[in-house]
């Protein structure tokens, strides 16, 4: 609307800025993929070329898959992210429903606590969580990777905002139709909040798939390591300065995220953009 009325110069400038910032974010990725295709000799050669002179992809990628237990790391990533996301939705949705649609004493106070939870960076909690996990004997287990993230203040907040935009009449109709409060959450609220669920799922999966900090603290055994920690271990032990296979590893690790995001892009934008129409 008002944007359309801007002149061609302004449009050009706007696109230039968008392109430049997009490129800034993309270049490291492109470089990573490019390196994963090159033989060791080309990687440190002066000069700049995206495509290798000698294709070395097969060697790099097969080393990535065989020399390190990368498939195991990926499987761990899937297990941990899946468990975290399932628990988060199972806990956030009813909590958000209560905060959005039920009237009870202390509701505003609880919501304030959620907001405070939103402000605390996870790193701050690392030490107490570590001690807690140690006392419970959970260190170096899947549970140690999963439990600290089971409750997401961000998820509660996002779902609450979305649920609030759903009219009370729908909740009333559902109660008259015989749905219990939990049935209302699962059969009515959550399906209606699908864009928010998808947006949240992407956030959750991306951040826990890529998380290095907490797994570094929580697990030691190689067979429990999620991908980033695995790559780090691989670099230290095996590869040394062998960057080709390392970059191939990294490419394989982020590939599922990129694919998932592209597939869900539309809902992702919608989910952050606002409530139901």
């Amino acid at each position: 609307m008002s944007l359309r009325r801007l002149g061609p110069v302004a449009a050009l400038a706007r696109h230039a800025v968008l392109l430049a910032s997009g490129a800034l974010m993309l270049i490291p990725f492109v470089w990573m993929v490019s390196l994963s295709l090159k033989p060791p000799g080309e990687i440190f050669r002066a000069g700049f070329s995206l495509l290798p002179e000698q294709w070395y992809a097969v060697e790099n990628y097969s080393r990535a898959l065989t020399a390190s237990p990368l498939p195991r790391y990926m499987l761990n990533g899937v297990l941990v992210c899946g468990a975290i996301l399932s628990l988060q939705i199972a806990i956030c949705a009813p909590a958000a429903y209560a905060l959005a649609k039920l009237r009870f004493f202390g509701r505003e106070g609880l919501f304030t606590l959620v907001l405070i939870g939103l402000l605390i960076p996870h790193e701050v909690l690392a030490l107490p969580l570590f001690i807690l996990a140690y006392k419970l004997g959970l260190l170096d287990t899947y549970a140690a990777l999963i439990m600290p993230f089971a409750v997401s203040p961000f998820g509660i907040f996002l779902f609450r905002q979305f649920f609030k935009s759903i009219p009370d009449d729908i909740v009333h109709a559902a109660r008259l139709d015989g749905l219990s409060e939990l049935a209302i959450v699962w059969r009515v609220m959550l399906p209606m909040a699908m864009p928010a669920v998808i947006a949240f799922s992407i956030f959750s999966i991306v951040s826990h798939w890529n998380d290095l900090f907490w797994p570094l603290i929580a697990v030691r055994s190689e067979q429990l390591m999620p991908p980033p920690l695995g790559i780090m271990a691989f670099k230290n032990e095996e590869a040394g300065s062998d960057y080709g296979p390392l970059m191939a590893c990294a490419t394989l690790v982020v590939a599922p995220l990129v694919v998932a995001f592209l597939a869900a892009q539309r809902w992702f934008v919608e989910g952050l953009g606002g409530g139901v129409k």
Binding site: D169, R175, L176, D177, G178
Partner: protein, 389 residues
């Protein structure tokens, strides 16, 4: 399976706002009762209390003679059609209508996706539900829409789906909260007839909330007029119109609005609009109040005189068979406007700006005390009657 409904002394406040005050009403089994009142007067709140969606601060609700205050909404055998329809946007029309049956007839396990279909009995129950959904949809003429989502329907179609979802489980009582207010005028008239027909066919108790007097007057057995959280009068539509209990009811019902003239009551006569009327209300003698005159109670008069309004025609509205005449009353008689509803045959005789005389039959004048209470005028003394003979 229909049931009557009684509520007694219902009170409800939100924060500091007293929304319902001592509301009591008896609704007979099978009756069509309208709750009529301006928006914000507490109609929806009352409906939600009846349905069990909101809890009253005081008072009791009984359905079929049984107190239901501690029953949850789904246990009350009540269905409700919401103003916004409140359909589930992610479910097809068929699923919307089927949900109340599924929740009642299938166990929690049987409702699970995939697994549920394999459990014993669930197939036959599902088939029974599907049959009833189809039957309901056919009755409402929405059979061809069963596979669509609510978002793909027009307002009138959504309204029918909402009625279908309420109808499918044969409730004892139907609550409807302004179900027609989101439809265009033409569809509203059509749906009015359909809802009336539905009531006749189902024969169950209907409680119909509206702020539209035409809906209330045309559809109901009885109308309960509400204002500011109170029920002012409960009566048949024609009684509400002809014999209103107080000023608010008289003013709320009737279109064009009733003429309200400030009046002073004497011992024998009543003074209003610069003239006198043969209206006596001994208990009001010496006080000020109001005379209410329905537009159709006025008729053309030949010449000025006592009990005759004289004024200038300010506006003429031709309504086909009727003609609405707006008359400016002279300022020495406190001014104001009078609206008369005359037969259109008279129209050629009346011109904008002309001076017109209007008379009124004494028996059709409604008398209100200063506090808005309706007062029955005393009969004319015999002497006066004789002089008329």
């Amino acid at each position: 399976m229909t049931a009557g409904l009684t509520f007694n002394g219902i009170n409800k406040s939100f924060g500091g706002a007293h929304v319902l005050r001592q509301v009591s009403l008896d609704v007979a089994s099978g009756e069509f009762l309208s709750l009529l009142g301006p928006s914000g007067c507490g109609k929806s709140t009352l409906l939600r209390i009846i349905a069990g969606l909101e809890r009253q601060d005081a008072g009791t609700v009984a359905i079929g003679g049984r107190r239901v205050d501690d029953l949850r909404p789904k246990q009350r055998d009540i269905a409700m059609v919401f103003q916004s329809y409140a359909l589930y946007p992610h479910m097809s029309v068929a699923d919307n209508i089927a949900l109340p049956l599924r929740m009642r007839r299938l166990s929690g396990m049987q409702r699970l996706p995939l697994v549920g279909g394999l459990l014993p009995g669930s197939r036959t129950t599902q088939a029974g539900i599907a049959k009833e959904v189809t039957r309901t949809a056919r009755a409402l003429g929405i059979e061809s829409l069963l596979a669509r989502k609510p978002g793909q329907l027009s307002g009138g179609q959504r309204q029918r789906v909402a009625v279908g979802r309420a109808m499918v489980r044969n409730p004892a009582i139907f609550l409807m909260d302004e179900p027609l207010s989101n439809l265009d005028a033409k569809l509203r008239v059509q749906m009015r007839a359909e809802i009336k027909e539905l009531h006749r066919r189902l024969g169950v108790t209907f409680i119909y909330v509206t702020h539209d007097q035409t809906e209330a007057m045309t559809m109901s057995d009885r109308v309960a007029v509400m204002a500011e959280g109170e029920i002012l009068q409960v009566d048949a539509p024609q009684v509400i119109y002809a014999d209103p209990a107080n000023r608010k009811v008289a003013e709320f019902v009737g279109s064009p609005k009733i003429n309200m003239l400030p009046a002073r009551f004497g011992a024998d006569l009543t003074h209003a609009a610069g003239t006198t009327f043969d209206v006596r209300a001994r208990e009001l003698a010496g006080t000020a109040g109001t005379l209410g005159i329905r537009p159709e109670a006025l008729h053309l008069a030949e010449a000025p005189g006592t009990g005759i309004f004289t004024g200038r025609v300010r506006l003429l509205e031709h309504m086909g068979s009727d003609l609405f005449v707006h008359l400016d009353l002279p300022h020495d008689g406190e001014g104001g406007t009078l609206i008369a509803r005359l037969l259109a045959e008279r129209a050629p005789q009346i011109a904008f700006g002309q001076t017109l005389h209007l008379g009124v039959r004494t028996g059709r004048i409604l008398v209100f005390a200063a506090d808005g209470r309706r007062v029955q005028p005393d009969p004319a003394p015999a002497a006066v009657l004789r002089s008329y003979a």
